[in-house]
């Protein structure tokens, strides 16, 4: 699978949110989108999964433009985990089974149940399968929401700040799950994120957004203090701890 985005622009109430966005992502890659609040990260993800329709440009999955795809076809190929979700009292099992909706006909099939059970096992959620979502911790809920999008069996997974409200342990667990599915299932994953250190540890590529435009697309190893300073408008010091590069804020520039 390859996602190709070319010259995408989106305006809201006359204000340009995205302008001339273009990039590509290949099978099994993780792309982290970085930018300040209001840079257009969430809007970009919503355009990529078809929730918003760009005013200009094109988005292709392989040879197919997503704007031309049927809703259910698109949902079979692209999974989306939003920043916010509504609190419901459905069980964990039902919540993950809901991800099978794009594949369902009139009834739930054996395959739908099998895929749901497999995801419950993979995410270690079996013991809480019958518990209502409202009784889970923030990290557990995030796993369920990711599980639901995995049940879609997509080629491309989009996640909007999936670790922003989680403690460190849960952040690492969620990112391990995402790198695992990218590697083992061949999914392409696009994640928006504010935590540069987590991004530096897990991302294959960085997409730097500034004022709704692509500032740069760079491999993890090429991210520099200067680049972060320019995109995030904050002075940072970059160092190395063990095998990992870390970023420490210095002072606002």
């Amino acid at each position: 699978m390859m996602l190709s985005v070319a010259n995408v622009g989106f305006s809201y109430n006359g204000r340009k949110i995205l302008d001339d966005i273009g990039f590509r992502i290949h099978e099994g890659e993780m792309l982290v989108v970085v930018g300040v609040n209001g840079a257009g990260k969430t809007t970009l993800l919503k355009c990529l999964c078809g929730i918003l329709r760009p005013d200009e440009g094109s988005i292709f999955i392989d040879e197919t433009e997503i704007a031309q795809m049927e809703r259910s076809d698109r949902a079979r190929r692209i999974g989306y985990v939003p920043q916010r979700y509504s609190d419901t009292d459905t069980s964990v099992f039902e919540a993950i089974l809901l991800g099978r909706k794009p594949h369902m006909g009139w009834t739930v099939t054996e395959k739908d149940l099998h895929v749901t059970e497999e995801i419950l096992r993979a995410l270690k959620l079996e013991s809480m399968a019958l518990r209502p979502i409202s009784s889970l911790s923030g990290g557990e809920v995030q796993k369920v929401i990711i599980g639901r999008s995995l049940a879609q069996e997509p080629d491309l997974l989009l996640l909007d700040e999936p670790t922003s409200n989680l403690d460190l342990k849960n952040q690492m667990e969620i990112m391990d799950i995402l790198t695992g599915v990218a590697r083992n299932r061949g999914l392409s994953v696009i994640v928006t994120m504010h935590d540069i250190n987590t991004a530096l540890r897990f991302a294959d590529q960085f997409l730097m957004l500034k004022d709704g435009r692509v500032h740069s697309i760079t491999p993890r190893a090429s991210v520099t203090e200067e680049l972060i300073r320019h995109v995030l408008d904050v002075d940072v010091i970059m160092g190395r701890v063990g095998d990992y590069r870390v970023v420490i804020p210095n002072k606002p520039s």
Partner: protein, 270 residues
């Protein structure tokens, strides 16, 4: 309707849809002469005071009245992006508007017509005959089947509009179709039986206690519980006083109003 607008306080009564239908029906009965007041010496209930001699005209006017409210609510929810509480407040404002309209019609009606409208708006199943029950069932059955077929779409909508869209649900079409069909049923029921308050609020809430929010179970369970509640209220209305019948709408109000206040005070999932 609660899932479509993601608001557990929503029902045809709390949104003002029933009042819109009542206004439309009263307009048809008095202004368009679709109803003929009947005074019978042998009457056993208030229902006998009213005979609707043009069921189609009354139902159409009730439907138009309910649709005016539905469209106003949908526009406010979509364009102004009203919060859950604000939608209910808008419903209260629209209810007041239609109640005032109904009062205006009453003001210009003669004494017999006035009595007819007052008794008619009580909400009473005693006036139903098999023909009306048949028409109601004929309309309610396909609508219930439609909602049952859309059960997974409604489950997705419970998780939020964005998640529903990402799962392939045509959210705007589902919400519009669902509200139109719900308003259609509310208007038919109101045209035949008057305003039966809070039943649409009570039934899904009690059903959720048994089957949570999975619409595959919630839809049939709400239908069964709604029917049982109506039967209980009607039976109580027939037996609670020595002679005559208490309108069922009064009894459902006694049950529903405390629940509404409880949900409002709890402030969770509203």
């Amino acid at each position: 309707m609660q899932s479509l607008l993601k608001n557990s306080l929503v029902s045809p009564f709390t949104l003002g849809i029933s009042h819109g239908a009542a206004f439309g029906a009263a307009f048809a009965i008095v202004v368009l002469h679709a109803g003929t007041p009947q005074i019978s010496a042998l009457r056993t209930s208030a229902a006998d005071l009213v005979m609707i001699n043009s069921i189609v005209l009354t139902t159409v006017c009730a439907f138009l009245g309910s649709m005016m409210t539905t469209v106003a609510i949908l526009l406010l929810a979509r364009i102004k992006k009203l919060s859950s509480q604000a939608i209910i407040l808008a419903g209260i404002a629209l209810s007041s508007l239609f109640v005032s309209g109904t009062i205006l019609i009453q003001y210009f009606s003669n004494e017999v017509e006035l009595a007819s409208i007052v008794f008619w708006t009580f909400g009473d199943v005693a006036r139903s005959n098999w023909k009306e029950i048949g028409i109601t069932a004929l309309c309610a059955l396909p609508v219930t089947i439609y909602f049952f077929l859309k059960r997974w779409d409604l489950n997705a909508l419970d998780s939020g509009d964005d998640i529903a869209r990402s799962l392939g649900v045509h959210v705007d079409r589902l919400r519009l179709m669902g509200m139109i069909l719900a308003a259609l049923i509310a208007s038919i029921v109101t045209a035949f039986h008057g305003v039966i308050a809070f039943l649409g609020l009570l039934a899904p809430h009690i059903a959720r206690r048994f089957v949570a929010s999975n619409h595959a179970l919630l839809i049939p369970m709400s239908c069964i519980i709604g029917a049982i509640l109506l039967l209980l209220a009607d039976t109580a209305g027939r037996t609670i006083i020595g002679s005559g019948t208490l309108p069922v709408g009064v009894l459902t109000s006694f049950m529903g109003a405390p629940l509404f206040l409880y949900l409002l005070m709890r402030g969770k999932n509203v």
